[in-house]
Amino acid sequence: MPFWRRLTQLFKKKKAPKSPDPPKSPDPEVLLDDELDISERENIERQLKLTGKLKDDLEVLKLMAGPSPDVVITELKAGRSEVPVALCRISALSDQQLVENIKHMLGWGMLEAPIPEKGAAALYEQFRTRLLTSSEVKEVQTSIDIWNALAHGNSAVLFDGVDKALICNTENVPVRSLKEPEGETLIRGPREGFIESLSTNIALLRKRIKTPNLWVEKVTLGHLSRTDVAIVYIKGLAHEELLAEVRQRVHRIEVDAVLESGYIEDLIQDQAYSILPLVIRTERVDRVASSLLEGRVAILTDNTPFALILPITLPMLFQAPDDYYEKVPIGIFFRWLRAGAFLLSILLPGVYVAILTFHDELMPAELLVRIIANRESVPFPVWFEVLMMEMVFELLREAGVRLPRAIGPAISIVGALVLGEAAIRAGLVSPAVVIIVALTAISSFTVPTFSFGIGARLYRFFFILLGSIFGLFGIQFGILSLLILLCSYRSFGYPYFAPLGPLIVSDMKDTLFKAPVWAMTTRPKLEGSREPERTPPGRQPRQVLDKEAKEQKWDLKKKSVKTEGAGAPPKRKGGRKPHESGENQ
């Protein structure tokens, strides 16, 4: 046995005791043992089945949850035969009104109802099929399933003598109201964003994409947190290979808890240590919807407003939802502006250092004289000065995120006045460097995807070092290596640099440019090739010159064309039902 393997023997992982095939449920009294570790407890809990004896079953539930006060169990007597029943719920997660309804039915409803037969099973059946006024009813047979239902805010009804429990939907999980996502604001476009509730988030998507083919696959991740995660896609549009890949990666996840979609991102992305994001994290519903319509997949996680979009390409990170809602030339202009700002934000400080210290002949003489004169009193080398100021800015930014809202103005005064103005006055930094830092800071915030902006910021430091050691040659080397890196990345097997990396000319209409909606005839070639056509070509708006088309009568009540003319009226999507019209986000 090699040495290292012997070494690992010393630190053997504690493994859950392998359960013998569970034909019998173990004795629930075991749970009283304080020596049980969490994995052992879970293992036992998983095997406990309902016995049919109400007392025992309730005992199991009490043993599982321990002394937790929010687990409320109400014991009642149902019907004339006074069958003992119990209603379990977690008080803060369930709707009081609905619970009371069920209670009423159990107590009074059962008394008044005509009862054909005696016996608990019949009573149970009667209650389930006739009396229960819950919108969603399920039957479960194990304690752990009851508990899972309770944790979602449902109530469980147990009958003595029946080894099944009825799960009634009484969900009232506290959530905040819909608000505009603060991290991704825009001028024109819908204001609502995702919230911390998975069901609400799915509903928001359904509101936008009403086809039944919007499929949601639910997975529960984290054996302690039991977080619901939904894989959302449009069936028939997303590639099955992609879906298989996503499913495989998601089902591979084995963690104790998923508290945020960042956990999932980390567990499923292609490159473990990539600085740039390989999936988009967004709070915007419209952004997710538009990605779904391109044949992509979204992963929504309960308890976080951030959804994941995958696969993505690098140019998608430069696309803001505004681009699609604004006029075309404006959208194109801003998209170019953002791309330029991105380059500026990673390259400018490095290029400044490189030019000033290696290639001063590249700078116009007047500018150079001024810069030299301005930094005459600066006691630091150029690279250190730039690095220092960039660090100061990062400090300010980080402090701005962390600090309590109430002392926000204080930090801005300290940041802007003390550090900026006083540092120049004291001759510690030159004004040119302050301008450069400010410029890079502003440009790095123009990137619509925040996680992308952060990544770019790290590259900036890399470029400052390259520029200060190797000059422009180093900058060029850095750009080349960055390009190679980007071209080598894959997002769920799809090339990251896509319409540029492998050149896809037909996708340029939504990459460097942004075509008007009527010209966006096809979906992205790689992701949406199952159903490439988005809108039939030649649908640009034009004046109706055709007399026949002009005289066509519109039946406004039926919303369809009454007389089928020779050519469909060009200004409207004649006869197409709204859900078929391939709305473009």
């Binding site: 000033l356 210290t357 290696f358 001063d360 002949e361 003489a365 150079l368 004289v369 001024r370 810069i371 030299i372 004169a373 301005n374 930094r375 005459e376 009193s377 600066v378 080398p381 150029v382 120049i424 006055r425 001759g427 200060s468 050691i469 190797f470 000059g471 040659f473 180093g474 080397f477």
Partner: protein
Amino acid sequence: MRRFAFAVILALLMLINTGCWDYREPGEIVHAIALGFDIDDDGQYIVHLLFPNPVSPATGGGAETGGSTENQPPTVTITSVGQTPMLAITNAALFIPRNISLAHVRLILFSTRLAREGLAPVIDLLKREPEIRLSINSVIVEGDIKTLLTSTTPMESSPAMGLNRLLNLGADVSGALFAGPILDEFVKLPRPGHEMTITRVTVLSGAKGDGGGEASQLQPTAMLNGGGAFLGTKLMGWLSPREAAGYHLIQGDLRVYFKNLIVPGTEDFFTVEIRQMAGSFKPEIKDGELQIRISVKARAAIHDIVGRSMEQVPVLLTDPDVTTSMRERVAEAIKEDLVLAVERAQELGTDIFGFGFAFYRKFPKVWAELENDWPEIFKKLKVEYEVEVHAIRPGLMFTPIP
């Protein structure tokens, strides 16, 4: 693994290929913006280097820190002497506390004396030195270079910058010989039958040296004054501004040019702006005789008409006969300038127009016979002129003020 090793090797190659030893802090360098070359009686080269003063408040340095830099002038001129032009520059390092960079030299000044003795050593330096650009201007200074460089120029922070701007912008309006990149002149040296010209600048009495005096009394320090015609690297003589204009007309690179002429048949003056000029020349051999045909096409715009009576101008521009005769008068005036320039160059015996070079390119076989005594042939070369003025633009005044 192999790929990783390859990447590491590439990254290490960067260390030896880029030369991080080229790292120079901007504070350690001082950039000369003008270089003046002169020669003294012992045959030693004198170099005047003009630097912007980094600690002067005028350039933006030291303003916030206060201290002792308040009285520093905006520019500093350092003069140093050496056996060769390069030695003269390097000797300056003995008393300048920073590294001298020549990458931002914008203007080269030659003294008249040096130009008459020959610029060869300096041109040799300028073409070899990797830092100096060849796209900068050069002038021959009539007067003292040091006085010019140390005096205060109105409207400019340094005399060299002022002169540079004068060369680039002012010259093409005045019609004086204007500067092009020094490379444009230097390429003529190895050519057969083509000689250099360099702009001549005359130092005026406004140039006082040593900072100049009160701001309210500032006077222009230098003026453009035609150009020098060279034979090889030696200055042979001057072209007057008018002859310089003729020279540029032939070269076809004059943009705007003003003339004051008499309206034919009257005693009235009119000032005309000649523009959109297209000048060219063609070498020809006619009946075994060499000749050059110069053709110039231009348009003209009237700027003013000054009658003798001072009360009203009698010229009627609606009359086609009048405009035709005026056009002819302008063409005649242009031709006069061409003739002046050509005759002056023939008198000096330097083929600044490149007539010989044109023959060399068009008739290479004939040139082989001409080559040795081309200066003599050039002096007697027959030149024909064709001048055409296309249109005359009257402005908004067709009829005289009543």
